[in-house]
Amino acid sequence: MTKIDATDMLYRDLNNRIHTLADRGEKHIELRNVCGQKFIGDALKGDVKIDIYGIPGNDLAAFMDGPEIEVHSNGQDGIGNTMNAGKVIVHGHAGDVIGYAMRGGKIFVRGDVGYRVGIHMKSYKDNVPYIVIGGCASNFFGEYMAGGVMVLLGINGDDSPIAGDYVGSGMHGGVMYIRGDIEDRYLGREVKKLELDAEDHRRLSELVREYCAHFGCDYDEIMAKKFIKLAPKSHRPYGNLYAH
Amino acid sequence: MYKRDLEHIPSGCAISGILNRKGKRIDGRKIIKSIALMHDRSNGLGGGFAAYGIYPKYKDYYAFHVMIDDEESRNRFECYVNQHFTVEHDEKIPTAKVNGIHNPPILARYFVKVGEGKLEDAGIAEEDYVVRQVMHVNSNIPGAFISSSGKNMGGFKGVGYPEDIAKFFKLEDYNAYLWTSHGRFPTNTPGWWGGAHPMTLLDWSVVHNGEISSYGINKRYLEMFGYKMELMTDTEVIAYLFDLLVRRHKLPIRIATAALAPPFWKDIDAMPEPQRKAYTAIRSVYGGALMNGPFSILVGFTGGMIGLNDRIKLRPMIAAEKGDFMYMASEEAGIRVIEPEPEKVWAPKAGVPTIGLLDEGVEL
């Protein structure tokens, strides 16, 4: 394992170190005193594991293709931007636009997340992205979603709604599992509510188990509450919008 | 005097230059003889000279040669110059009555230093400060035009044949280690003394034969670095390009000239590394400074003179050497008339600078 003290380090230097280490075959890197350095794990490949202490900057794990990043505190915006494979685990809360255009890999956030999480997430064949949020989400959860799986647990939630307005607006692929319910008026026009079937349950329980393993939560307690499933009404939501 | 003649005026010409490498000063008779021989290359609408080493008594002062329309303009100018400089000495530039020289402006020179504290106020280097003030006077003070502004040098120019201009300014009375001169053949009659060559800035002086076809972009390139093209002549552009590349960007002379007249891409591609990389960078970074079209120029400065041709040699240039003297001129005859038996005579190659420098350690 290699430890890097990131105090006062410029992101370009820090990321250069990480890439050099990974290229040399280092499997485990620990970053201490991270504070705002952007692009950590950007386009990083392979099976390296990075532990981050401190607050990583925006676009953590952007274009990432394989590695695992564990953030032992809060994360900022843009985690997993256009990520291809790998895993990001955030022990605290995270910001807006998490998993934008993500195509594969997994993101687990223990706390709440901001706006437009999972926007335009898409899957292709066996490349399926997963996002599991322990807390609540703000507006436009899963906007434009074109594929993949999102789970919203709302565990830490008080009385506030589990997700904001416009959930799944423009959704035309993929699926969301929400623990609890969302009033219809907060759903996007293109989304419908469904009951979970056996396949859904299998997928969900696998993800929740993984979530519990990362954060040490009680699986049964989480699963005790009823989930709803959100899916797009059509893969072609705008087919009738045009005249030629 | 209408100095902002907003049209760009093309012109053809004759040029000649003499350098003594040891810094030995000679009077103006030789250079006059040389340029007079090429009389037919000019048409009487402009002639001029630059002379270096002529003001040893004031050599630490910027020597402003100024063309002034009338007393009112003189007041305006003097008021400005006193505000921005400390004037050590000023005087009328001595002239003689000469047939064929008409309506000269008031000609005066001012030996100045940059006033105390001015630089801190402006937060710039001394020379940039001088450049700024010269540009200000030339664009904003009506009726006054600084025609040269270097130390221990001066430009003498006007409307007329160069040999007449020389008589008018009594150039036989000056001693210089470097002389350049110019006879002009403009394609219209601007009738303005400031439009003659040399064009100068600080101690840069340029005499030029030909036309810079890339004038439009060279001008816009320089404007990006704060230069103001007042005269709308391509020669002015050359002086400013040297100032930018050599003085401000600190490029060695051979690299600056490589930016102005670079090798062709096919030749760059054939160079070995690291040269290829260097020349590729010069061309791609200094594309706006490339001077295209027919030209041969003589650039004078305190340290010597540079002759340069365009990349495909569309204007003539001959160089020669004898002892400590170096000569460059549009025609070989222009050299032979003052140095019948040079040790070496050659035609510089297109785009390759001919550089004559004072010997190291020469005291001026």
């Binding site: 992101y11 990321n15 952007k38 692009f39 950007d42 386009a43 676009d59 952007a62 274009f63 843009g78 931007n81 256009t82 291809n84 636009v97 934008y100 255009a101 926007i119 899957s123 292709y124 906007e143 074109a146 423009g170 692929g173 893969h235 072609r236 939501p237 705008y238 087919g239 005249a243 030629h244 | 049209e7 093309p10 012109s11 053809g12 394609t187 076809s213 890339s214 004038y215 439009g216 001008k219 816009r220 390139y221 404007e223 960007h249 490029l251 690299i255 062709f264 891409w265 690291p274 010069i282 791609s284 970074v285 594309g287 706006g288 490339l290 295209n292 079209g293 027919p294 990349r311 495909i312």
Partner: protein, 509 residues
């Protein structure tokens, strides 16, 4: 919005197809050539019968008919004259009354806004400086695209010459024309392949557009610019490193400010593989990049991409020419873009709402002049290169654009026309008879990439020669002496303000 029912249309056919029965030998070729199925063979009459309503004037049948038996003409119905309500307005209203839909169209704006290129004239040398003969003297077009320092530093003691300044990566263009972004999906595989081969042969670049890069083409990487747009289709680490440069697409001239929408019909198996989305689904590109809501976010994406490619490639930004383009571009340069592609409002598209295409944005001529001026005023022109496009139709447009200040131009429509496109504006239907804007394998098979590459190479060679001719007439032998040299342009029939913005004098001055 409620979904309207299907109504019979009152809009008359736009064209009339006439088949000369005496010339026709009933080979029936035209019936298969038409991608829009406008022609059928009638056994009853032993004749070719045209459904005029389906004809789009793509001329495929006209070109392929061995007997030159087909004529397509305007169906010029008389409409009661009305300077206000043109027939086009009336037809559009009818269409919308029948469908309730947004009018969708393709290619660039076809309204007759003034084309400023056609009001600009180029200088030439006479006497005072010589013109140069481009056939026998060197005439250099090479151009470098990317960030450049303001000045260079050299090792003073080194002979040979050694550079000290570290240079940012640049793209080398042998001809100042690149192929603009056209996505695989909106255009066909053979189009991408033709562009790629031609770019390679001409020493220039093709741009993937926003739909990813087909695996087959990864080996052409030295001549490819990969685009990263809001939909992030086919964008991953390998893709980003598969090009010589990366272009962030913010907008496109034909539809500034709105997203993209590739209809499911065009998402074939292969397109789906390249875009990495399931076949048959609509490929929606969001209007903005959702990681860019402000200029500092753009900077973040630029540097995310630079980090992803370890600073080995230039990262450019493509924007549509909109009103405030000068200030926008200044911000883009400061955000770290190594080049900017500015797409004027006449730029093409595979599909766009007509209301946007024909009414939003500004002409490239003015945008380019304003941007070049602004960047020079701010002293940051060297930090970026400008590629401009949106209605470049001929070499003189290229020359004028470069003289106004562009480093290079991009062409899309012109490249497609070279491949056979007749600008029928039906790309959005996916039925293109020329195999260009379609994914139907029966149609795409018509475009031979080898021949396509040759046609494109010929076009660029012809434009290069013409550009050299003009440089020679201007008496300069390197393109950098033309670039930004507005002194060599004059305007005719332009008002004072327009001349001022273009930074050129009126002819006669």
């Amino acid at each position: 919005m409620s979904t309207p029912g299907v109504m019979a249309t009152q809009v008359p056919p736009e064209f009339t197809v006439e088949i000369n029965e005496r010339k026709c030998v009933r080979c029936k070729r035209c019936t298969t050539e038409c991608g829009f199925e406008a022609l059928t063979y009638s056994r009853e009459y032993d004749a070719i019968v045209a459904d005029d309503a389906k004809c789009v004037a793509c001329h495929r049948c006209v070109t392929m008919c061995p007997k030159h038996a087909i004529r397509v003409t305007d169906n010029s119905l008389a409409y009661k004259a009305n300077a206000n309500f043109s027939d086009i307005h009336r037809k559009n209203i009818l269409k919308q009354a029948e469908t309730g839909g947004i009018l969708l169209t393709a290619m660039g704006c076809d309204r007759d806004y003034p084309v400023l290129w056609d009001h600009i004239l180029i200088d030439a040398c006479q006497v005072t400086n010589p013109s140069i003969d481009p056939l026998r003297e060197p005439m250099e077009l090479r151009t470098y695209i990317g960030r450049k320092p303001d000045c260079l530093e050299f090792d003073p003691d080194s002979d040979p010459l050694k550079l000290k300044t570290e240079l940012a990566p640049n793209l080398k263009l042998d001809v100042p024309v690149v192929f603009g972004g056209m996505s695989y999906g909106s255009v066909s595989y053979p189009v991408h392949k033709s562009l790629m081969l031609a770019a390679e042969r001409c020493g220039t670049f093709m741009n993937t557009g926003e739909g990813g890069l087909h695996r087959d083409f990864y080996r052409h990487k030295d001549h490819v610019i990969v685009q990263c747009a809001s939909g992030r289709f086919g964008v991953h680490e390998e893709y980003l490193n598969a090009g010589a440069a990366i272009e962030i697409k913010i907008g496109q001239g034909a539809k500034p400010g709105i997203g993209g929408h590739l209809p499911g019909e065009k998402v074939s198996e292969d397109v789906s593989k390249t875009r990495m989305i399931p076949a048959g689904t609509d490929a929606l590109s969001p209007a903005p990049h959702h990681d860019i809501y402000s200029i500092e976010d753009l900077s973040q994406l630029i540097y995310a991409l630079k980090e992803a490619t370890r600073y080995r490639k230039p990262v450019g930004v493509k924007v549509a020419a909109v009103h405030n383009i000068a200030a926008i571009c200044s911000g883009i340069v400061r955000a770290g873009a190594d080049y900017i592609s500015i797409d004027g409002f006449r730029g093409g598209t595979g599909a766009a709402p007509r209301v946007i295409r024909d009414n939003v944005g500004i002409p490239i001529e003015l945008a380019l002049a304003a941007v070049d001026d602004r960047l020079r005023q701010e002293g940051i022109r060297n930090q970026t290169s400008l590629i401009c496009g949106g209605g470049i139709r001929q070499s003189s447009d290229v020359i004028k654009a470069i003289a106004l200040g562009a480093d290079a131009v991009m062409i899309g429509t012109s490249a497609l026309v070279a491949l056979g496109c007749r600008v029928c504006q039906k790309c959005n239907t996916g039925k293109c008879s020329w195999g260009i804007a379609t994914q139907n394998p029966r149609l795409t098979a018509r475009l031979d990439p080898e021949e396509g590459a040759q046609r494109l190479t010929n076009l660029l060679n012809a434009w290069s020669h013409e550009t050299q001719e003009v440089l020679g007439a201007l008496g300069v032998n390197a393109i950098e002496s033309l670039r930004g040299s507005r002194e060599r342009l004059r305007g005719v029939g332009l008002d004072e303000k327009t001349l001022e913005i273009l930074g050129i004098k009126p002819a006669g001055r």
